[in-house]
């Protein structure tokens, strides 16, 4: 047998005898394929919808038509008031202030404020024409949602308000040509009457239109989150990528447990006065410090190079950084305690960390994903950590607002550590 075939044969035997690694080598690509397919295709889920808040300050027929049209859009989930709760079964509708607060809190990416007087000039055919601007409040970390909502507003003008559009068009034409002749005016009025009659029929009112157009509804966009930030979205990216790499770091650090088990050092340590619990706690302390230091280095780099505002968010960063480091360190201990060799740890780490990072928003924002995947993201360390860092660096929220994320991350860390301790009992005695 040629030497290269002999070498290949030996490698094959080695793989075959590590059945866990063998299984993962086939499962890994299939699982990744399934995860990414679910994210991109929305298989088994609903089409992702953009949640928006609409505040109607005008209460005119035109504003009602516009709201109705937006509510009928498949790609939008429109709310005019908060969800009823047991404590508040009939909450009041959103106001401009509460809608802005909701955007700032990250509850929705976009809010539309239809101002008073909108019904007088709902659309315009150019800058010379008077028109009342709808205010679009957005979170600039989401670059997709405001553009989609703006486009859908223009679509609404074409589909929901044809009579208004036609009437204003005729008025504009009449003014520009010095007025219609009586015969012309008679025909215009007849056409408008026919159109109003057509639109009065509920079967036609919401019929989608394939016609394009844009800019007829005047929109003034205003970013209420991140508007004054020197380098938008970098802080969010730093958190997203940081957490993913922290998971790798923690997994690698915990892997020393397997090295020591293999070399016999673990046995020797456990034969001294050190218990397995103490040993795991020591390893985890190291992993926490390493992960937090790595995160700090990443944010300091972001501050120096990309002007991420670290100096004004240090308490929030420390709280989120330590919570995240604690959770990922415990995760690493769990992986190491499950695996029997470094090869197994490498394969299992890859599959779990990449999946968690994809679902949890470390690779692309969760709001791109189908609803079911967004919910699945809540079962990942990445999802909660990114939410927390976003609150700190993007929404400028106080440390007290981090309690949900901190509670989940710390609880996750405690549970994972306890499971790891339980599994590590196999090293206690032979």
């Amino acid at each position: 047998m040629p030497q290269f075939l002999n070498i290949a044969r030996i490698a094959l035997i080695g793989l075959r005898r590590d059945r866990f690694a063998l299984a993962l080598s086939f499962l890994l690509p299939i699982i990744f394929f399934a995860v990414f397919a679910m994210i991109y295709s929305g298989h088994g889920s609903t089409t992702p919808k953009i949640s928006i808040i609409v505040v109607d300050q005008d209460h005119s027929q035109a504003s009602a038509q516009l709201l109705h049209s937006l509510q009928n859009e498949d790609s939008l989930k429109v709310a005019t008031g908060p969800e009823p709760t047991k404590e508040n079964p009939t909450p009041p509708d959103y106001t401009a202030a509460s809608a802005e607060a909701a955007v700032k809190a990250g509850d929705v990416p976009v809010a539309l404020i239809i101002p008073s007087g909108y019904g007088l000039h709902p659309i315009s055919f150019g800058p010379a024409q008077p028109a009342t601007q709808i205010e679009l409040l957005n979170d600039s970390s989401d670059i997709i949602a405001p553009q989609m909502v703006n486009g859908l507003l223009q679509k609404a003008a074409m589909t929901s308000m044809p009579t208004t559009m036609a009437q204003q068009g005729m008025d504009l034409t009449g003014r520009n040509i010095g007025g219609f002749t009586p015969e012309q005016q008679k025909r215009v009025d007849a056409q408008m009457a026919a159109m109003r009659k057509y639109m009065a029929d509920p079967a036609n009112a919401n019929r989608p239109s394939s016609s394009g157009g844009g800019g007829m509804i005047q929109v003034h966009s205003r970013a209420v989150v991140g508007e004054n930030k020197p380098n938008p979205r970098i802080a969010v990216y730093a958190a997203a990528f940081g957490v993913m790499f922290l998971l790798w770091t923690a997994s690698g650090a915990a892997g020393s447990l397997l090295d020591e088990a293999e070399s016999g050092t673990l046995d020797r340590v456990l034969a001294s006065r050190v218990s397995m619990g103490t040993l795991l706690a020591g390893k985890m302390t190291f992993a926490i410090l390493l992960a937090f230091t790595q995160l700090t280095a990443m944010f300091v780099f972001g501050w120096l190079v990309y002007r991420v505002d670290l100096p004004h968010h240090i308490p929030g960063f420390v709280v989120m950084g330590l919570s995240t480091a604690f959770a990922v360190a415990a995760f690493g201990m769990l992986l190491a305690s499950i695996c029997r060799s470094r090869a197994q740890l490498g394969a299992l780490s890859t599959i779990v960390i990449m999946s968690m990072s994809a679902i949890g928003g470390s690779m692309f924002p969760r709001y791109f994903m189908p609803k079911a995947m967004q919910t699945a993201g809540l079962f990942t360390i990445n999802g909660w950590a990114i939410d927390g860092f976003t609150k700190v660096f993007w929404r400028d929220m106080p440390v007290s607002a981090l309690w949900p994320q901190v509670t989940v991350l710390v609880s996750t860390g405690v549970v994972l550590f306890l499971i790891a301790r339980q599994i590590a009992r196999r090293w206690d005695y032979a």
Binding site: S263, G264, T265, R268, A271, S272, Y429, A430
Partner: protein, 317 residues
């Protein structure tokens, strides 16, 4: 781990008391009802082939293997208890060291694991470096040390907390003869200080040189336990063995061997003799019988012979 329960604790507990120890790994009985008492200041050699159960016995004493039955007491404390851990110094067969730490850092790390701090720790590190003749390599990374140096450091790490009972599990595995001799000198120095030692090996010459008493272990059982001389005398009444190999195996050879009380395997005959003159008599009769002698050896019985006598197998089988 099962706690050791002894109805009446002796006034001065023995360094080690093992009673009725049993341990299975699956269907394999690694330790089969071993009982053993070690006296203070004694060096006990555990001699047996690979897989005989020596390491399992040692690991049970250290508290790293939970026995299925039996009890172990170390200076009156059950195996695995903090008092027992503090009293025992375990030198495992593997090089259980941190390769990225220096020799001194390794010793400090294991010293701290055993509860040493401050000056007692510094003194212990200095003593261990001196004992293992590694003072000049104290700041060298472990991975840069030679095989023999690593072995010595591995031993020193087991003694960092000045234990009263030292368990050495084949500490000379993979060591060249020169380094092995140095290790023997280190162990002899410990023995001279009155330390109680268990030394496992499958080399009879190591057991002969170092051990006060020798326990021969096979298939998880102690099949003989006594001093070196007593083991031989108990097995062999004669003082020497004659091994005569002939060119051909023939009926005449078989008759000749049985006539003189010997055993024959293929073309090799073995005899036990008490006096040198017996050898001349054997050779004369062989010549008279027309046997074609090819090789002749005179051997005093040793532990290898004892093992062969007791088990019917070579020690290194």
């Amino acid at each position: 781990m099962a706690a050791a329960v002894f109805p009446v604790p002796p006034p001065h507990p023995a360094p080690l008391l093992v009673s009725g120890l049993v341990k299975h790994f699956g269907s394999v009985k690694a330790v089969d009802n071993i009982s053993l008492e070690l006296h203070s200041g004694e060096c006990l050699g555990l001699l047996g082939p690979n897989g005989a159960g020596k390491s399992t016995l040692i690991r049970a004493i250290v508290g790293r293997v939970a026995p299925d039955a039996g009890a172990i007491s170390i200076f009156g404390a059950p195996a695995g208890s903090p008092a027992a851990c503090a009293a025992i110094g375990w030198i495992p067969q593997e090089l259980a060291l941190y390769p990225r730490l220096t020799a001194a850092e390794n010793l400090r790390a294991f010293g701290r694991y055993s509860g040493l701090t401050g000056k007692p720790l510094s003194d212990a590190v200095a003593w261990c470096l001196n004992w293992s003749a590694l003072e000049d390599r104290a700041d060298a990374l472990v991975r840069t040390l030679s095989g023999g140096m690593k072995r010595r450091l591995n031993m020193a790490a087991g003694l960092i907390h000045q234990p009263r009972l030292v368990l050495m599990d084949e500490p000379t595995v993979g060591v060249d003869p020169q380094s092995r001799n140095r290790i023997f000198e280190m162990i002899e120095a410990l023995r001279d200080r009155g330390m109680t030692i268990i030394y496992t090996t499958h080399y009879m010459e190591e057991a002969e040189r170092l051990a006060d008493r020798i326990a021969i272990v096979d298939h998880g059982r102690i099949i003989a336990l006594d001093t070196h001389q007593a083991l031989i005398q108990n097995c062999f009444t004669a003082s020497a063995q004659v091994i005569a190999r002939f060119r051909d195996s023939s009926p005449a050879l078989s008759v000749w061997a049985s006539t003189h009380g010997g055993s024959l395997k293929d073309s090799t005959a073995e005899f036990a003799i008490d006096h040198p003159t017996d050898l001349a008599r054997l050779l004369d009769s062989a010549a008279a019988a027309g046997l074609d002698l090819e090789d002749l050896a005179l051997r005093r019985p040793n532990l290898e012979s004892v093992f062969l006598h007791l088990t019917g197998r070579e020690l290194r089988d």
